[in-house]
Amino acid sequence: MSTHAIALSGLRKSFGPVEAVAGIDLEIADGEFFSMLGPSGSGKTTVLRMIAGFELPTAGTVSLSGRDVTKLPPYERDVNTVFQDYALFPHLNVIENVEYGLKVRKVARKERRTRAEAALDAVRLGHLKDRRPGAMSGGQRQRVALARALVNRPKVLLLDEPLGALDLKLREQMQVELKQIQRDVGITFVFVTHDQDEALTMSDRVAVFDAGRIAQVGTPEEVYDHPATSFVAGFVGTSNLLSGAAAEQLLGRAGTFSVRPEKITMTAGEPANGVVAEVIYAGPVTRFVVDLDAGARMVVVEQNRRTGTKSLSEMRGKRVRLTWQDEHVIEIGVNHAP
């Protein structure tokens, strides 16, 4: 592809003495579902706000479809945002909210009504078009915000933790819907989230943010199976880090390694190499915290297929043997990308 939907280069942003974004280079392809994943304060929202035009970068440039928009105000950029708090206009009803972008761009009344109604139908809210946002549930408001942004047919849709305020069931449902909508409209989605499940489930590619920088960019599989840094390994999924003496003793190699909890097999077999410190029952799975004799603490996840709850609690304090296949040991910081 010759031009990218979004290209960031050398992007920096300081708020007084605090450097929120400390040098970002990133290219996002047309039609991609791209996630920015990171803990709060890692700079992902600030990057999004610079793409939207709400913040002026301290240094660096923002390009949309090959055009430098770094200094353009938000209303001259072909992007739309779904805000974390939705930011629906409380004095306008649903259809007026959705029409707003068309109205300020002087689209004829008849056409904008038709397009707004189509957008509302697409998010299955056609029957609520006369409601005020104040009289709607969180999930409904979220959909109005989505329709209000999509009706303008932007080249890029920015989503700032749009599912953050929803309960788990609704979140999972909206994840599927968002992905489907993105496939249907075919525009670039940039999705900011601190929820690794969300990022892994929905994205074509994920950028993991750490302290104002991007620690890793890759497909969900790459980021999960081959974390570039121990931060990525720890933030994306649960990770057992082995380093120093423990690594040499268990793996026979020096360095920092990660083994995912679900890749570890726990048996009662001999010779035992650790003791169960904690048993956490979580419905479909159980998490065991095992202190290895070699001096590392490992988390093991097991499916609750055979075990009964009763026998689980008796596991605490038992000596066990942990084994894993060598191919599941990931050396941190070494590029395994195919």
Binding site: G53, Y75, F83, D85, L88, F89, P90, A149
Partner: protein
């Protein structure tokens, strides 16, 4: 037990405030020229007399003009300062905020004397003598606060996310102001404006010092006629009108600010 004590105390307090006001209203219909109590005659004679009293009518008209003028100035300046203080960071911002609020706390006599001497030593030599305009300016000094406070509170509560959303959807700054910001602060402007009008309408001290010759607002007219025995019944009527005209904007302002505040919090 304590509940009952508190209720009684509250009732006494409210009685103490409102019974005298009620008395004025009742007495304006009292047929007895010396206001004998309890009133045994009902009459609208005083109301007719007041209506036909040229001095009182002129004063009412002057008060309305002064109130509208001061409110207009307060709306423009109060809104502008509220936006400056809430939306921008600049050197001395907190000081500006304090200086805007201060005049409402200053004793009216101080404001009055200060304005009087400023007008005589600075503005009169420029060719603009004291008159209705000086009263309007004097009232505006403390009326700005009500608009400022109302608009500031509204801006603080609503934040800038709606305006960002508007810009994001392609609205230019003028459109954002017209479609989003103005509707957002409209009820705050109305509430602040009504309070400003009420403040101006019953002002007497600052008015005394700033009014030019021949300018008489309603409260001043009452004050001047209070001790003339044959004017007493008419004074009662004018006071009753003043009560209604002062209470009405405050009551409206509360109603305007009330439900809106509840709804926008959702």
């Amino acid at each position: 037990m304590t509940r009952w004590v508190l209720r009684v105390v509250m009732a006494l307090g409210l009685l103490f405030i409102y019974v005298p006001l009620l008395l004025v209203l009742v007495n304006s219909f009292n047929g007895d020229r010396t206001f004998g109590w309890p009133p045994h005659d009902f009459t609208t004679r005083w109301w007719t007399a007041a209506w036909n009293n040229g001095g009182a009518r002129d004063a009412l008209w002057t008060s309305v003009k002064a109130g509208l003028g001061a409110t207009a100035i307060a709306l423009v300046l109060g809104t502008m300062v509220a936006f400056a203080v809430q939306r921008f960071k600049f050197f001395g911002r907190d000081t500006v905020s304090l200086l805007i609020v201060l005049p409402i706390a200053l004793p009216g006599i101080v404001t009055g004397i200060a304005l009087d001497s400023a007008w005589r030593s600075v503005i009169e030599p420029l060719g603009l003598g004291k008159g209705l305009f000086s009263v309007i300016v004097g009232h505006a000094t403390f009326c700005v606060v009500t608009v400022y406070n109302n608009v500031l509170a509204r801006l603080r509560r609503s934040g800038i996310s709606l305006e960002e959303a508007s810009a994001d959807l392609g609205a230019r700054p003028g459109q954002t102001f017209r479609y989003i910001t103005f509707p957002m602060i409209r009820s705050a402007l109305l509430a602040g404006g009504l309070l400003a009008f009420a403040l101006s309408f019953d002002e007497i001290i600052v008015t005394t010092f700033t009014a030019g010759p021949g300018i008489q607002t309603l409260p001043i007219w009452i004050f001047n006629n209070l001790f003339r025995p044959n004017q007493a019944p008419v004074v009662n009527v004018v006071a009753a009108v003043l009560i209604v005209l002062s209470v009405l904007p405050v009551w409206l302002a509360q109603r305007v600010a009330g439900p809106e505040a509840g709804a926008s919090r959702t």
